[in-house]
Point group: C2
Chain length 633, copies 2
Amino acid sequence: MPIQEVSLRNVTIFDHFWSPRQELITDVTIPYMEKILRDEVPEAKKSHAISNFRMAAGEESGAFYGMVFQDSDVAKWLEAAAYSLLLKPDHELSERVDELVALIGRCQQEDGYLNTYFTVKEPGNRWTNLLECHELYCAGHMMEAGAALHEAAGKDDLLHICIRLADHICDRFEKEEGIPGHQEIEIGLLRLFHVTGKKRYRDMALRFLELRGRDPEWFIKHTPPHPGIHYGGYDIEPSDTIYNQSDVPVREQTVARGHAVRQLYLLAAMADAAAETGDREMLNACQRLFDDITQKQMYVTGAVGSSAYHEAFTVDYDLPPDRCYGETCASVAMVFFAHNMLKNHPDGRFADLMELELYNAALAGMQLDGKRFFYVNPLEVDMRVSGKAPGYEHVLPKRPPWHDCACCPPNLTRLIASLGRYLWSEDDDTVYSHLLIGSEATTRFGRIRMESGYPWQGDACYTVADGGDFTLAIHIPGHAASYTMRVNRHLEEYPVRNGYVYIRRIWNAGDTVSLNFDMPVRRLHADIRVRSCAGKTALARGPFIYCFEEVDQEEQLSSVSLSPEVKIDTVSSLSGLPEGMVCLSMEGKTDVSPDMQYSPDLIRRRPCQLKAIPYYAWANRSPGNMNVWIREQ
Amino acid sequence: MPIQEVSLRNVTIFDHFWSPRQELITDVTIPYMEKILRDEVPEAKKSHAISNFRMAAGEESGAFYGMVFQDSDVAKWLEAAAYSLLLKPDHELSERVDELVALIGRCQQEDGYLNTYFTVKEPGNRWTNLLECHELYCAGHMMEAGAALHEAAGKDDLLHICIRLADHICDRFEKEEGIPGHQEIEIGLLRLFHVTGKKRYRDMALRFLELRGRDPEWFIKHTPPHPGIHYGGYDIEPSDTIYNQSDVPVREQTVARGHAVRQLYLLAAMADAAAETGDREMLNACQRLFDDITQKQMYVTGAVGSSAYHEAFTVDYDLPPDRCYGETCASVAMVFFAHNMLKNHPDGRFADLMELELYNAALAGMQLDGKRFFYVNPLEVDMRVSGKAPGYEHVLPKRPPWHDCACCPPNLTRLIASLGRYLWSEDDDTVYSHLLIGSEATTRFGRIRMESGYPWQGDACYTVADGGDFTLAIHIPGHAASYTMRVNRHLEEYPVRNGYVYIRRIWNAGDTVSLNFDMPVRRLHADIRVRSCAGKTALARGPFIYCFEEVDQEEQLSSVSLSPEVKIDTVSSLSGLPEGMVCLSMEGKTDVSPDMQYSPDLIRRRPCQLKAIPYYAWANRSPGNMNVWIREQ
């Protein structure tokens, strides 16, 4: 039996950090987002996504509005709502979900086709422009929603719609050539396969992967001219084959390139496919790109895709903090990718990456009130230029009410709502714990409960509720320099492989494993090839990367620095932030500015107090300058 | 009598730094550039500028090619050739100039109009689109060339052509409203006025200045739609009134904004006009903008206009070194502006700015062989991104053979060829020496000769050849912390005002004034609001800003830093550079990169040797990384 995730139906989270966030998602975010999709929030940009479905069903008149992939906002919201119904039964939400699914059903064409843009606006042009038109992308998201409603909420209506849709897609693309312009259908089909067991969907996903890059000119040959119509949000050139990773076969890819979310959805699907088929070449490609991204193209927060131009990866070590793109969706997709890599083999680097994204780059996408979201996640904000000056237009210092391209908010929402999926796996003889998030998993070896002071404290205690003969493999966070482990209160040592400690025992009901490790403040330094980080340090503690917001400082951020040896204290939450957040306080130095713009005088420095907060919590007070990296001198 | 420049006819340069550069201009650059304008250099991009004139004269068939302002390349080349003929008589060049001027004459329309683009391509659309079509801009440059040929070469044919052109422009715009989309006509008309004494041209220039910004919607109201035609090199929006400084009247401008060269040509004309009319409000506006630019918007090299988007100023202290635009033309225009400010009052800040630009940002525009030119002058080059990655496309690490928009090469050429204009001024009782460039000036008080070891040594000796009763006002470079002065070998002190020492004497023929000052290596530090320079230093010595090229280092540039206290030695020229160049050598430190992209390990540093060269000489060896600013820690 290969490694399989413990289904989120079998995981209950009771974590002092994440449970309140899941409650926020169920109580605030999901209903609020639904209102936006229904255009009922006056201050938010219009979504019209649900109206588009009404129009496609012939139940409303008017014009299609929004992105060609506007349907996917509804699909991702439905997926999140499915998880929400599992976390917290809600009869009214359940009914509204059913109504919405029924509406979607009424939009489906007789042959199974489902896409409001083409149904409303260009019914004659279905499937004519795979490069830009996102029909397969929207279908993939709908399949994920269908699978989620089945798994989490026991609702099968959307699943049936998606089966018809998937059959329609298989009918069309099983023989004919075609590759998606934006990867996602591969994920959706694999998920539909996992739920239905129908090999046809798996094979269709594999075929889409297989064909990609076989003919590097496929999009050039198969994209019709369409002057004056911009399907993709911006002009997508058929000849830019790097943009959507269609220039080389997927197994031959060596570095992450092009549009970051496309690249990562592709990798997530490839990793899932490799786990399914045992395809080593596919897995090796995934591993190469994992290494490339995490060692050369990732910000310290976990953000990826450094360039706003085409929302893309650029070149190794090109990681400007102030013009960072770091799309929230890309960080969410990093979690998907790492999670699917864990299905192939348990390696702490995958779990560490999930942790980095969950506590930092992805989580920063959401305001603490659960209502607003970042699309772009910079590591440095200068209010004079951010959001304004050329090259900085995308770097907003404040999460906006909604987005023209609203892919990120429901993406992060579905991730947090489905967090249970990412915590535990199991195979023939082992239960794996990947993340120190308080929860109880019901596995094939019975119930295992884990309680933890994490992420603020370095401890966790596992209780094997039902006993049995199996291995409990616990991932020790990569940042823990050492740890102590007690089994039933006795210090014990067990073998560690790839970041997991493997505890093979015949367990008695009630046996416990407790872990303890220090969580000192770490000063991170970057590879010297990251120009923008040279001479700087980023502070971290436990899973968190910290940042400096100007509102907490006595001095301008651009003037401050930190001595290499200075002691950094933890303090309780700073003014204007929720209680319980561990913040940092330290003595820094501030440069006294010379009188002239350029002066030959020695720089004078005087002491000042500096405070840092976890990066995920930035931009929750009045907008101001922010830095993750601080000069160390 | 107001302060007037000593005409370049009356100044002979014999400077060990600049004379070889002027020879390079006469012997190499001007003939080479002429070949390019005639499309005779196969490896260079096509210019077609002279062919356009032949077509306009009806002597060649074919299509207009190039920018709508391609004529100005020819005008600036002619202006440079005029100065060249004064520096070094050249019968063949003189004949070719005459022929070219005759060709230009044959292009002139009966009513005086002169512009090849409209004559060849859109004869019906003359003067219909002042925003983008550069007719007034080209006319201004032609007038400068006409004035230069008259002043420097005693040739009046082009002057007569320009008088007809100016009269045509006056006829059209004296009563009718109109403002130039790219300032330059004001400079040209004022120069024509200085040469001809015809007040009509002065008044027309003043009117163009006066009307600018009076009606902020002027361009919106007067720009015809022209779908599919891009006159300006890129789309220029009529509503973007900041771009060309037409949103407020010129006297009310407070900060430099929009397209840098437009802003600076405007300021150069305003300063000239203020000197001519005594308009205090105009002068105050110039002074405000001078302060704004030099204290908040200028790179340490003198480069200005930090954004590639619209080649523009952005906001205070936004000076990214690696995406710097810093157009060569903008630095050339800074010299024009400062020079015209000196006509209003002698202030060392204006002379210092001329010096900064001449020895650094402007001069770096030209390759040491005189053949290739930069348009963009960055302060940091990373070969992985420069010239390639999004946002860095403009940052070339190597001067290209020629440019589609070739404004910079002839602009810098005419500046260096006419350097004599910028050295000396005079008024009723004073002769001013602005720059320490070895030369002899024939003034109303007779000949004054200056010899100097500058820019490599801090000394200068003035000899008053003819004697007389007057004041010799010598600008002491702003970087000199102190100096000693000897008059006829006796230490003397004289009053200093605004950076000039005023030596009032009854001079005997042969009297000398010798100046000595130290030229230590200076470590410059930026205002703390310049984020990109925080914690860094730039090295300077005398008028030069230095830079580090990777070819001279033992270590990667991004890894190196300098202790605040380390001694910096001067060394003779480095390998691959001309003899006589004073370079710098020092012990630096290199960071040892951690094993991971982000590591909690302390940064280890070990000593390494660092070498720096004058910034103007960068990119004359094999292309590689370059930094002006270096970490100081």
